[in-house]
Symmetry: C2
DNA sequence: CTGATAGTTTCTTAAGTATCGAAGTGTGAG
DNA sequence: CTCACACTTCGATACTTAAGAAACTATCAG
């Protein structure tokens, strides 16, 4: 119903990553995911951890996380007092699908 | 002088790709590049060709192309009456560099 | 229940964006 | 020189965004 156009979906993700602070949040999450995987744990982490030195107010972070979630890049779920964030594998797949074009070009 | 932070540069590129029409323009350029490569020609094409069915006014396209160029994704050069656009290989490299994180996660 | 912690909602403000119409610039053809 | 073509610049308009302050909600410890 919304807009199933794949290009629009992709643009939506890029928009979510177009803000430096949001991009950093997402990259922190990716990094945490890798670390957790290395340790054999599940790849997710809660909000405060994502901040990693960013100087942002709580409302702003909340807003950014929502944007990432709306774009489909991450999933969130409450766990006690904390909000656990997880990278969405499907979104990663879509992003990767954009790359062949990049790799083929050159 | 400006802001050499690589994350900021990346965010800048994502911003340039965050508008559906601009993303389509860029993808068209990538596609043209591949075709031209296949034919042994240089991988670039001029503006009108980029439109590929998009219904945008000339000023809007001009603006979008400028955005892509400012973000470092493409390079432009005048050739007679036309503006020739070329994908910037360095930008592609930077985008690709973002992917290892994507691939490693999962 | 009380308090503390973690995150959310609402509202506001300043700044940025997308698009187009109208007018302007550069180039080549005749 | 004149004209048409391809693109650019300059508004103007309508819309979106980033950020935080203040107030709110949810969860847990004691």
């Amino acid at each position: 119903m919304a807009k199933p156009d794949p290009v629009d979906r992709l643009a939506r993700m890029f928009k979510a990553l177009s803000n430096p602070n949001r991009l950093r949040l997402f990259m922190n999450l990716l990094e945490e995911s890798r670390l957790d995987l290395a340790k054999g744990r599940t790849h997710d982490c809660f909000l405060a951890k994502l901040l990693g030195g960013l100087e942002l107010g709580a409302p702003t972070v909340s807003h950014h996380v929502k944007e990432l979630a709306d774009a489909g890049l991450i999933q969130t779920q409450r766990e006690g007092k904390q909000l656990v964030c997880t990278v969405d594998p499907e979104a990663l797949a879509e992003l990767r699908a954009f790359l062949p074009a990049l790799v083929a070009a050159r």
